[in-house]
Amino acid sequence: MKFVGKIWPRLYIAIAIVFFAAPLLSMARFAFQRIPVISLGKDNLFKRWTIDGLLTTLRDPEFAHSLSVSLKVAFFTVLVLLFLMVPTTLWVHLSAPRWRGVVETVTILPYVVPPIALVVGVSGTYRSIAPWFLASNYSLVPFYAILAMPFTFRSLDVGIKALDLRTLVDAAKSLGASSGRVMWNVLLPNLRTSLINAAFLTITVVLGEFTIASLLLKRTLPMYMAQAQGSEPQGALGLGLLILVLTTILFTLVSIIRKKDSTNINAKNINSGMVP
């Protein structure tokens, strides 16, 4: 019985590892081994590895351009989202808890409305009233802000719930801090992890979004990768793998910071007998 109890969890973990690792390994072999796909087998697992394909792609000026477009769009999407969602989430928690359900529902809408419906609706409208808007790369920003809204709201919501928000705000005000000061010197520092988390999630949404960019004909990174699959497939896949590894590292860092911060907050709550 004891043996069975031990073997099942291990088996599941093994299956999970294979499920996630096998495609990555295949991807890596395709991207970094100078061997025709048809001859890839277990005999040549360690032969002719090279990053030439990836380097060719990285040197492509089109890559640099698309990366810069995506990063700029990501930057402004993060700004717009935080500018909208930080005050909204704080307001919901401080002054209008009964609106929480409504805000939550609104932020979930992007899950329900398919991107194509969003683009067709919005682009149809703007093409007639403000065509210049759709011409700019930054026309992606509002779309991406909507797509990333659920992550931003949830991330901030969780961060705020962990704080004794009302008391912190009151304490700061009684000490002479104006609303701006409260926001800048108390709320934002304590929501640091949530903000970073929200920003990274938003960036990954932007770096991975294809449908809207494709429909609006923007040369973003995912668009470039889709195209490069035809001309330089090894490089494109190598790039995909690189981005995957980089984002994994980023999120690991974020979760380390978050753990550190949550020990602060949880320890505080346990001391005061108010475990969240």
Binding site: T167, A171, G176, A177, S178, N185, I265, S272, M274
Partner: protein, 318 residues
């Protein structure tokens, strides 16, 4: 002129009158407790004074200035909350210096002042720690230091001891009393705990349903309760029959009269609880079956008293 004065302050939340014509004046340096059950309006009064809640009518005078309408951050009221409200991202010293920082006090001056304040609450060696690294009692003392660092007009304390365990509670309570006396800061202390209010206050304001029942010194409120609510809420009290009426007598003002056949009341002992120096004896009266509790000094109790035994009770003659 009073340091802080509420004049006919009223506040309702929907149909509920949280505060009705609340009027009280705090003298400079005085410590006044607002005492009452939860929902009696005591916290509402405090929050209106702090500027976190607006009143429907009435005025609040700080010295001779009406501060109704003045935003919370301009009122210079130091406040300490029930839940430790230290800023989790700042160390202890920076927490204490926060009010000075937003007040534009230069860095070296506020650092010195923060150290002084920490000295005052005897926590000067903890300045570099983060809030989660110190105990609850220490956090509340830091919160006191932080509230006092800006030299507030009035110190407002909203059940500051409720989250602490019994021993620490007494320590922090004594600390509050000491600071109030040493610094002469006018203090308003909200609590639902009558022992706390009795031991710390110059005056107690007993409240129920948004109305002041009585204002007076602890001794006065205890010995001469103005209403039946005050008599029952502050300390415990017995209601005993006398002729056609009933009298209210505190347990310690009753004496057991084991051998007195002509005792004022007679009844059967139902419970004996030993609480150290005192022993509480519960009795059910023979004539109307009402429950009475008698508090006697343990060393003076007749050893023959036992559960089920019929005894006499007299009012203590003073």
């Amino acid at each position: 002129m009073s340091a802080l004065e509420f004049v006919n302050v009223s506040k309702s939340f929907g149909d509920v009158n949280a505060l009705s014509n609340f009027t009280i004046a705090l003298e400079q340096g005085e410590l006044v407790s607002l005492l009452g059950p939860s929902g009696c309006g005591k916290t509402t009064a405090l929050r209106i004074a702090a500027g976190f809640e607006t009143s429907d009518t009435g005025s609040i005078l700080l010295g001779s200035t009406n501060i109704i309408g003045l935003p919370a951050h301009q009122r210079r009221m130091g406040m300490v909350f029930q839940s430790y409200s230290l800023f989790p991202h700042l160390n202890i010293r920076d927490n204490v210096a926060f009010g000075l920082k937003v007040g534009g006090v230069p860095g070296d001056v506020r650092k010195k002042r923060a150290e002084e304040m920490l000295d005052l609450v005897r926590l000067s060696d903890l300045g570099h720690r983060m809030p989660h690294q110190i105990s609850g009692g220490q956090q509340q003392r830091v919160a006191l230091a932080r509230a006092l660092a800006t030299e507030p007009h009035v110190l407002l304390l909203d059940e500051p001891l409720s989250a602490l365990d019994a021993k620490i509670r007494v320590e922090v309570r004594d600390e509050i009393r000491r600071l109030n006396r040493d610094l002469g800061v006018t203090t308003m202390f909200v609590t639902h705990d009558q022992d706390e209010a009795m031991s710390i206050s110059d005056r107690i304001c007993v409240m129920d349903n948004g109305v002041i029942e009585q204002i007076g010194s602890p001794r006065n409120v205890y010995n001469n309760p103005a209403t039946s609510f005050v008599a029952h809420f502050v300390g415990s009290i017995n209601s005993l029959p006398r002729g056609n009426t009933r009298v209210l007598i505190r347990p310690e003002n009753l004496v057991l009269a084991t051998h007195d056949e002509s005792a004022q009341w007679r009844g059967a002992v139902t419970d004996i609880t030993f609480v150290g120096a005192f022993t509480k004896i519960a009795v059910v009266l023979d004539n109307d079956k009402s429950s009475v509790s008698v508090l006697a000094i343990s060393s003076q109790i007749d050893h023959n008293i036992a559960i089920g035994k019929n005894i006499g009770i007299n009012e203590e003659i003073r």
